[in-house]
Amino acid sequence: MNQSFMIIITVFFPVIYGAVMLLAPCFKTRSSLIKATAAGLAVTAVFAVLSIFGGGSFELLKLGENLKLYFRIDNLGKMFAAVVSIVWLLAGYFSFEYMKHEKEEKRYFGFYVMVYGILMALCFAGNLVTFYVFYELMTLTTFPLVLHSRTREAVMAGLKYLFYSLCGAYMVLFGIYFLNRYAATLDFTAGGSLDMGLAAGNEGILLTVAFLMILGFGVKAGMFPMHAWLPTAHPVAPAPASAVLSGLIVKMGVLGIVRAIYYVIGTDFIHGTWVQTAWLVLSLITVFMGSMLAYREKVMKKRLAYSTVSQASYILFGLALLEPQAMTGSLLHVVFHAMIKSCLFLSAGAIIYKTGKTNVDDLTGIGKEMPVTIWCYTFASLALIGIPPASGFISKWYLATGSLESGIPYFSWIGPVILLISALLTAGYLLPITIKGFLPGKEYDYGSLKKAEPVKTMLIPLTVLAGLSVILGVFPNPLTGYIADIIGTLF
């Protein structure tokens, strides 16, 4: 059927388009390059929308018996695809201006278009093998984005990113080998497809496998102990790249965990086992540690990176509770955090682009120089802290109530406490920039003040993202409803 064929177009058109952009000798002038990129992104977005509304499934080819590349669109995939498309397009639009002060834009944009298709493939993946294949490809294609400015630090950071991801990927692969034997099918079926007849007697192995997969995907989601690539990779990458890195690539790790645990292994299997406990412990540690480190950090993008580490673990915590309320909270937080964090990174990028200041302490009075940017930043940070009615509040509310209802001993109340503390810390490390920025104090001489507001190309994405992050909080009901019927199939 045609709309299922649309999936393949959505996935492979941008990949081929990007490859052509990379290899083709044309695009001498910058404008032609921008036009080409914009066209590619736009067309892909159209395809994406078509296939989201089309639904359906498509089997590409078989690697071995019951190892096939297979795409299927379900509600979860649709949600992720929508989020990815929005943020990706906005960040791309932002980078049209931002990349002016970087070299080799051609390579950047080529890979940028490519990765879009691969993320689509990840959202639409129909079984674990497909997901793994495109997960690896995502690592490889985002690698050039990270080490874009090929200074020594950038290359080292890129290698670090590469090897952390590869280690994670091999843990996942290890798991896939076993699931291929013990699961009835690797296709994503809500509620898990573990063959209990085979699994009987091998619970030990299978629990280890589940834990390995959590760890492996957790590498991308920046879960302790494999989080260290985030704060290294973000400061060196160009701002739009780091925006999508922590906005979306991290979410792909989350998507992987959801797929593996909720759709293949099954929640009942690890409910109340040591795996769940370990998972809860790790995620809570990460939440707390991330906020602490962010609070201590002085370089702005690093600070944001640490905050990503902690926020992503909110999501993981919610997933680890294996409980509908918390799951709702997590999925909400996926959406919100994607918007918010990319907005924050983009504003950081705007600041760097205009003033070249990277350190937090230099930002006194920045609010006077570029008010719109800082207002967007402020709204986003309020949303992230979870001040009602901004969006972060909703998701955290769901998380807290979920964990209280889950009735897991200790964690049911330790969780909310840590979330609260971390929220306070979030306020502590995000707001000072706003405060210092707008109220620089007496000794700030207004004489040297000059307007440094960036051009519209940068402002529009910022405002849109900031607006979304607030509005989604004010009118959350459609989203919650949508998520509710995703959850309904799972529990």
């Binding site: 020594r152 290359v155 080292m156 290698l159 670090k160 090897f163 989080h227 260290a228 690539w229 985030l230 704060p231 290294t232 540690m289 480190l293």
Partner: protein, 320 residues
């Protein structure tokens, strides 16, 4: 009470390391995955010379076989271990032998229907009185063709190694002959002039009677090769090249091998497809008999003779 510790001590201590690791400060790939920046300025004369000296000193210390203790220890150890291995090998093989079937036993598995057929019906099927020749040239003809090719390939390899260009060939020959070979030695030449014809005739006889009596292409060819070597070492290359130079060698070798190959191919394909082949077997015991064996023997003999002589010539002066 706490005392102040110095910076690097502080850097070393465990908690700091842990904190760095947590915050991803330390880079596990730093140091072993370096992308070293290229050295731009070339080092000046003195330092380079110094480097060279160090290089040579290190190399000498490492590789002088006498005084390098590690090297000698390793050598001794290696030798003993390997000796042990070989003794174990011998022991195992003896154990094997002790369990093998008795040698002189007529009913050992070796003497089965295969050998029986070779002996009882070999003469009718191959036309060869000599069952061994019959076997290796008709029943197992493919092996033997391969074996001839082994000789051929070996000659080519020796050519790769020792073949010299024309100019250097000349002087190499001169100095070699001057050093190692007697020039116009009267005794040698007399003996050779008597012996060579006999050797040649004997070789030809062995080749032609391959299917009737012990011998065959390989042994006869070897004999003829020996005769040619004797001739060369008596009369030198100039005289030899009058009747056997590189062109003759090439033609002889290629034609011999091609004849063999063609006969072989014809034989295999006809045999496999059940086409009866038109090479008459003749009456066993006559000189012109036994189908393909006689021509193959001649070809092989020619090839082997050429190869033997080629080995000698290549070793001695790097060319024919």
């Amino acid at each position: 009470m706490s005392r102040k510790i110095s910076e690097e001590q502080y850097k070393k201590n465990l908690s700091v390391r842990f904190r760095n690791w947590i915050s991803g400060e330390t880079d596990p790939y730093l140091g072993n995955m370096e992308i070293l920046p290229q050295r731009d300025a070339s080092p000046d004369e003195k330092t380079r010379k110094k480097h060279m000296e160090d290089q040579t000193r290190v190399v000498n210390r490492t590789y002088d076989v006498e005084n390098n203790r590690i090297y000698r220890f390793f050598n001794a150890f290696y030798k003993k271990a390997a000796l042990l291995c070989c003794l174990v090998l011998i022991a195992i093989l003896l154990l094997t032998v002790s369990y093998l079937p008795k040698t002189t036993d007529p009913h050992s598995p070796g003497n089965n229907e295969v050998a029986e057929r070779y002996i009882t019906r070999g003469m009718q099927e191959t036309g060869a009185v000599n069952a061994v020749t019959g076997m290796i040239l008709t029943y197992r003809a493919f092996d033997t063709f391969g074996e001839t090719n082994v000789l051929f390939v070996a000659t080519c390899c020796v050519m790769i190694l020792l073949m010299l260009e024309e100019g250097s060939k000349k002087q190499a020959e001169d100095e070699n002959d001057a050093k190692y070979e007697p020039k116009n030695d009267a005794i040698l030449q007399t003996i050779a002039s008597v012996l060579c014809p006999i050797i040649f005739i004997f070789g030809i006889y062995v080749i032609l009677n391959g299917h009737l009596s012990p011998g065959g292409g390989f042994s006869g060819g070897a004999i003829m090769g020996a005769g040619m070597i004797l001739y060369v070492s008596a009369f030198g290359f100039k005289k030899t090249q009058r009747f056997f130079n590189e062109e003759v060698y090439k033609v002889a070798k290629i034609s011999a091998l091609c004849v063999y190959g063609l006969i072989g191919a014809y034989y295999y394909i006809t045999g496999a497809n059940g086409i009866e082949n038109h090479i008459p077997l003749g009456i066993p015991g006559h000189i012109l008999s036994s189908g393909i064996i006689l021509p193959i023997n001649i070809a092989v003999g020619l090839e082997v003779a050429c190869t033997m002589y080629a080995f000698y010539a290549l070793f001695r002066k790097g060319g024919l």
